[in-house]
């Protein structure tokens, strides 16, 4: 099973992180992604494929400070 932001997301299996992000409406330049406790460098979004047992946290930042 795959968990993304605390919710089951088995439909994401086999997708690259970049396609999952764009399909889910995230803008790459505004996010940080941790996979199984490690930050995923932006340069690896295309080659990172979501697999069974992955636990993913996607943080999307909003403006103001």
């Amino acid at each position: 099973m795959i968990i993304i932001n605390g919710e089951f997301a088995d439909q994401a299996e086999g997708k690259s992180l970049s396609s999952y992000l764009s399909e889910s409406g995230y803008k790459q330049e505004k996010v940080a992604v941790e996979r199984n406790g490690k930050i995923v460098p932006k340069s690896e979004y295309d080659d990172t494929v979501l697999r069974d047992n992955d636990e993913v946290e996607i943080v999307s930042f909003v403006g103001g400070g």
């Binding site: 505004k30 940080a32 941790e34 930050i39 460098p41 932006k42 909003v62 103001g64 400070g65």
Partner: protein
């Protein structure tokens, strides 16, 4: 009463609430916190950490104080036109002249972020634009393996202050804010909610310094 400029380091240190045990004060005095962006969040975070006698502060911003900052940032009319790093150092000196404050008046980018904050086990992200927030968080989590980042995201408008919370969202990332209200949606920033968010960030920094990991 003694004139402010005559107060000694010991007298100011002794003015920290003596109900806290000595080891709490020692840990704060020995701590180093970096603050990236000295606007509504960063200027107030710095002031709160200075009042808490956090011994080493690293302040980074490229910008100068503008009249549009006065609605929510720690600066006053006398600081208009000054570099924010210098204005904030001046404010902090007025609170506690014995803190070790180092400033960098530069725009933070992917190339310099790791070096600027390499000596900071804790960095408060206090930028305005979401792309810069993401850039800093990504760069620090990639390049500084021991650094914890406390980021502000979602504090616009005048919605309930209770929605502005601190959360641990990644192994080394805490997020403070409501996560949603975005200036890109045309919602302005006001001092109260920005200060609540800054307070959550500063409190999380103090908690980490004192060994508390939970938000």
């Amino acid at each position: 009463m003694r004139a402010a400029e005559k107060l000694t380091r010991e007298e100011i240190a002794a003015a920290v609430d003596s109900r806290f045990p000595e080891n709490v004060r020692d840990r704060l005095r020995d701590a180093t916190v970096g603050i990236a962006g000295l606007g509504g969040l960063g200027s107030h975070i710095a002031v709160m950490l200075a009042r808490s006698c956090v011994g080493h502060l690293r302040l980074v911003d490229f910008d100068r104080v503008d009249v549009s900052n006065l609605n929510r940032q720690a600066y006053g009319i006398s600081h208009l036109g000054m570099e924010k790093t210098k204005a904030l150092s001046q404010i902090i000196k007025g609170i506690n002249p014995y803190l070790d404050v180092k400033i960098h008046t530069v725009r933070v980018d992917r190339k310099n972020a790791g070096t600027l904050f390499e000596e900071c086990p804790i960095v408060c992200e206090a930028f305005d634009r979401p792309e810069e927030k993401a850039m800093l968080v990504n760069t620090l989590l990639e390049k500084c393996p021991d650094t914890v980042v406390i980021s502000g995201s979602g504090m616009a408008g005048y919605g309930s202050g209770n929605e502005i919370q601190a959360k641990k969202v990644m192994r080394r990332l805490y997020l403070c804010g409501d996560g949603e209200t975005d200036i890109a949606d045309g919602i302005g920033l006001m001092a109260p909610r920005v200060n609540i968010c800054a307070g959550q960030q500063a409190n999380m920094a103090v908690r980490l310094i004192l060994g508390e990991q939970m938000p």
